[in-house]
Structures are given as C-alpha cells and as structure tokens.
Symmetry: C2
Subunit: 371 residues, 2 copies
C-alpha cells in the first residue's frame, strides 16, 4: 500500500472532491466550451501578488485542427514551482524566457488526452509534462514528458513525488551529491516539494539529515512524518552559523541548496572537506531587487567544495529507473509525500504566490478538474 498520508491525516484539501463546474462539458461536441485561464497581468518586480495574474474566461473548441500533430489536453492538476517566478520577470538576468503578457502561464501539470494528432498519444491517455494554466490546452507533443502508466497512486503525485520535483530530488541528491553512508546532509526548504524527498533519500542512504523550514508546523512534519533526524525553523535562529554548528558539530558533507543567500553563506562556514553542494534553487533570491551578497566563498578552496548547479531537464533519461525505484517505495509506504492541494484553477494565483512566502506545507498543487 502506498501512503498518501497527508490527504487525510493532515486534513489538507482532499484530492477527489468535486471540481469547479466542468461537468457540463462534453469532449464529443464541436461546440465551444469555456476555457478558464490564468494569464499574466503584468511583469513582476519583487514578490509576486495575486493581482499580477488575472482569471479570464475564453472559449475553446474541443477538436484538433485538421492535420494537426499536436495534442489536446484536459488539465487535471497544475504544479506551483519556484522557478515560475523567474518567468514573470521582464528582463531576466539569469536563464532565458519569460511568460507573455495576457497569455496563460505555463508549467508542469497532469492532463488527460482528449484528442491526439501525434502517434505516441491517444484519447484517454494520462500524461504529465508542460501544459498551460487553463482548463484545456493544445500542446506540442514535445511538451509532454511521460505517459502515466501507474494510476494506483494519486494522479497529483505526478506533479510532485513522481514528476519533476521527485526527479529533481533524485538526480540532485544521487547524481550530483554523490552521497555516502554515514555522511551529514543539510537540506534547506526541507518540507518543500523537493526537500522532503531529499531528506528521505538521505535516510535511505544511511546519512544523518537535518532540514530547515519556516514554521513550527513544517519542522514538526520534517521530524515526525518525513523522518529527518533534526529540523529547525530558520526564522527562530538569530545566527544561522550558530544553528548549523549546533546541528553539525563535525560539519556538513552535502548541502542540498534550495534557497541561496544568507543560508548559503552560513553553510559555507560549516562544510566539511570535500563537501558537495548540489545547487537546485535559490528561492530566497528570486523576488529580491537587491540580491544578497555571499561572502564566504573562499571556503570553497580550503575545503575543496564542489558546488554544482543542475536542472532536471538534463536527467530525464533516468526517469524510468527513478520511477521504478520510487513507485516500490511509495507503494510500501517507505517514502511518504506531503501535498498541499487547492481546489479550482481560480485559486491558482493565490497558491502560486503563497509558495514564495512559504504558505504551503508540502508540495503545492492546484486541482483543476476531475478526469
């Protein structure tokens, strides 16, 4: 049995309640149907606000254009991921690409194929990949990452533990972090979509693992449900260096970097020789107009630290291996996953905005529609 404990033990929004009035839609009709969308209202400076996005109601014909090789999707779950903030900036200094004003956001999601012009997909398939923040999307087949073959686990898991965040945690920890039994692991944003899995992977590997998070509720989750050896609320620590020295008197072998800024600066003072820092994200910096300066980088030399950025796109060739590994553990309840699911696309903007101030407890998902 897999353990999807958070949907009932923590009384988060249950996954399988009724969606928001889509039942009148028919996939057989050529008639136009409503296609609610979340579009970018303006480019964002600083922390994003709900008003930076807008809910618009367009219409769509649920029929592929003749000769199209694209795929028509009904979106079921949409994923709120930290990187999305970067795409809301007009002139990015890091990475490439931005969202288009007045167009729907794009992001990872779980969808059902309504019609397919591509031989790899057929009507009724469940898929996960990059889709748009709307009820129905026409996507190029290359945007679909994988067909979903295993539905004995919640479909929402393919936005998290079995999707991009899970694959990211797996690749970053095992392929970039090179963990060894007995090593000391520190994870920031530890109760988030990725961090909670890194901690569990670290325990599986025989490591000592400590997580930081931003509330007592999250710290309790880390210690009591997610198996971290220790966890602390970074907001309660006047000096992160002191906190890390307390939890890692012998230093840190692997720091799984999700936040950047002053946390990284304190970590650099506490790394062990030949330590590794897989750099997955720096969410603390994404909303700042004046970036934090990191001053302790010289430790990289003396401690021979390897700090390596990675993005999941470079590792999807490992997905089949990852899925096999993780499905077994999920079904046996040996890996658990905390999700924070909001109901209805119209609540998407609030959910997305919330992840940048840590409102979510666990992986933030938007439930758009039932199958």
């Amino acid at each position: 049995m897999f353990c999807h404990f958070l949907s009932f033990q923590f009384q988060f929004s249950a996954i399988h309640t009724q969606g928001s009035g889509h039942t009148q839609l028919s996939t057989q009709s050529m008639a136009q149907v409503r296609n609610q969308q979340v579009v970018l209202n303006n480019y964002v400076t600083g922390f994003p606000k709900q008003s930076d996005m807008k809910i618009v109601e367009s219409t769509v014909t649920l029929k592929l254009p003749a000769g199209s090789t694209e795929v028509l999707l009904k979106n079921l779950y949409l994923s709120c991921d930290p990187y999305m903030r970067l795409l809301m900036t007009k002139d990015r200094t890091v990475g490439t690409g931005t969202y288009t004003l007045a167009s729907p956001l794009s992001g990872y999601g779980v969808s059902k194929v309504l019609e397919s012009g591509h031989p790899d997909y057929k009507k009724g398939d469940l898929v996960w990949g990059i889709t748009k923040w709307e009820e129905y999307s026409l996507v190029h087949s290359s945007q679909i990452r994988f067909k979903i073959e295993h539905t004995d686990v919640p479909l929402s898991y393919y936005t998290g533990i079995l999707g991009m965040p899970g694959m990211t945690a797996y690749a970053g920890f095992f392929e970039v972090g090179y963990p060894k039994k007995g090593e000391n692991v520190f994870v920031s944003a530890a109760s988030g979509a990725i961090g909670q899995l890194v901690g569990q992977f670290a325990k599986m590997t025989g490591c000592y693992v400590v997580g930081s998070a931003g509330s007592k509720e999250k710290v309790d989750l880390l210690k009591n449900k997610l198996g971290f050896d220790e966890a602390f609320n970074y907001k309660d620590e006047p000096d992160l260096n002191d906190a890390l020295k307390r939890y890692f008197p012998e230093g840190i072998d692997i720091y799984f970097e999700n936040v950047g800024g002053r946390t990284l600066d304190a970590v650099l003072l506490n790394m062990k020789i030949h330590g590794r820092i897989p750099v997955c994200g720096m969410i603390s910096q994404y909303n700042l107009t004046q970036l934090d300066g990191v001053t302790n980088l010289a430790n990289i030399i003396f401690k021979r630290i390897k700090m390596e950025g990675f993005i999941v796109n470079d590792f999807y060739h490992l997905y089949p291996k990852f899925l096999e590994f993780l499905l077994t553990h999920v079904r046996e309840g040996k890996v658990v996953y905390a999700e924070d699911i909001v109901e209805g696309l119209e609540n998407g903007p609030a959910a997305l905005v919330g992840i940048y101030t840590g409102q979510n407890v666990g992986k933030q998902v938007v439930h758009v529609a039932l199958e």
Copy 2:
C-alpha cells in the same frame, strides 16, 4: 633548449649573481653560524606591510642532533605565494593554521641537503617542499615534496613552473576544468605564477584564452610572450561585465578563478551552459576586513555550472606525470615562464608584501643563497 627568457630578456634580477655573504660558512664545522630569519612580527589585519615581518639574526649549528630523523637544509630559493597571507591572520575563518609570532614564516622553497637523518635523502641532494624563511632549516622529511633530479633547468623553476604553482595550474586546468578543444577560457591574475601556465595549457589544448591582469606591462607580457589570445587590464575597465562580453561574446566555458569578489560576480553573468570554474584562489579577498558579496550565484543553476575548489596537496600523486610533460615542453621552449626574482632573504618581506598589490611581474621568488 628550455627558454628561461625572462631572466635576461626582461632584465629582471639575474638569478645567479652572488648571494648575501654566506661564503664564510662551512658545513663541516660544528661551530655556530649565522641563520638570518624572517619572522612574523605581529598578526595582520588588512593588507600586510613589511613591518609585519622582522629580519632577525639567530645562530645555528650545522649538525643534526644525534639520532634525529630530520633533514638539515640550506635554503636556496623561497617562494612568495598568495596563501601565505591567510597564515598571517590570528583567527582564521577559512582553512586552518597560522604562523607563530616571532617564528620564521614557512613556505615552499628549493633547498640543498646538508645532512640527513632520513634514508630517502642524503647530503648534497637538492629538494623542494615546505621549508622556513631562514638560511638553514631543520625539517621533518614529510615536509620535503620531491627530490630534484633535473638541474638543466633553473633551480628557481622548482618554486614555480616545476613546483607547487605549476602542479596547481596543471591539476586545476586539466583535472578540475576538463578542457575541450575549441572552448573559451578566462584566467584572472593571468600573469601570476599559476595563471601564466593555465593560459599556455589552454592554448596547447586548442582553446581560446583571455587573461586579466593589473598593469599594461602584464597585459603586454600575456599577449606577446605567454601566448594568450587576448588580455586586458582590469583596472582600466569600469564594468567587468562589459569587458567580458566584449572578449567572450559567446560566453566562457572555463573560468580559472584566482581572485574572487567582483571578478567572479561578473564572470557568473558570462558563463556558458555546463561551464566549469576551478577555484584555485581568491586573492582579492585575502586582505579585506569586509569581504565582497557575490550576488550572481543563481547563474550556477540555470547554466548548470560546476564550481570546484581544489588544493594542490590532493594532486601530488600526479607530479611525476606532470614533470615529464612539462620538462619536455620547457626544454623545447614551448612553455615559457616569467619570474620576478629578488636577491637576499632581507628583501623577502617587501617581495611577499608586493604580491598582494600586484608589484610582481610573473612568479615572485626570493633568492637566498647559492648552492
């Protein structure tokens, strides 16, 4: 023929002139002889000054104590290396160890064995390794890195191109940087002991290489003698980001990091995807009481950059391979080396202090005595 061009072409201090009055000393006598020393006068804050060191005249008996397994050395050349500044700080926040007040500095040097209590060494051997800033030193055999077997090249080379800096350049560029033909390489402190070799290794590998340095003389040296494709004086550049965009319109594959601080910050904006940053040193930060903050680290993620600190001690097992490789090139004149040699131990403090403000042109060496 090797090309030790700088000792004559550039009219630096010639290497083989008379030392400073050591000829009266006899290695056979049990009598005490003078042992001039450079000792630490006080711990250093900010940039080091000559007065932070003191020349003292002690005496020494040129005879090993009975039963000693140590080695008695006559020091010939001493090396001025950036890391030495870190050992002058009382409470280090990076690395470990400091110099002891009123005791001689230690550092790399080339020495002649006067007497040996260790079977690996015998009277008359030339060696290089860690010795002290004095005329005669008693050292543990583990401080000797290697016996010098090839004396058809200047002995001073074993403080530089054929010693620690050479090995550092080789290990950092080839073993940490993983260079490929056609890649774009940027080297800071490029005319220094290590940088000048990294540039030549890059050219051998078929890379495009640009160096930065702090004077017109150094820039000319890089372009005209050391084979760099381009070089610039960072002091003439109001915006390093602009400079790097000019020299690397397509971005940087390998940044060989010697300086840290604002150079690193500008480089991070100009790295290519899957770029590598071997971190050898951060000399711009060693004398600061308020460290520079590096703000552009999020580029490490989006560009999947690997930033890896290393120290040469982890690579000395490669020294025989390195020496064979480099001796051939030195003898054929295919690799050249710029040295800046001062005469006399009493001029050591000024030479050492000078490297932190870039007074040296090429590898800074102190010539203590003739064989």
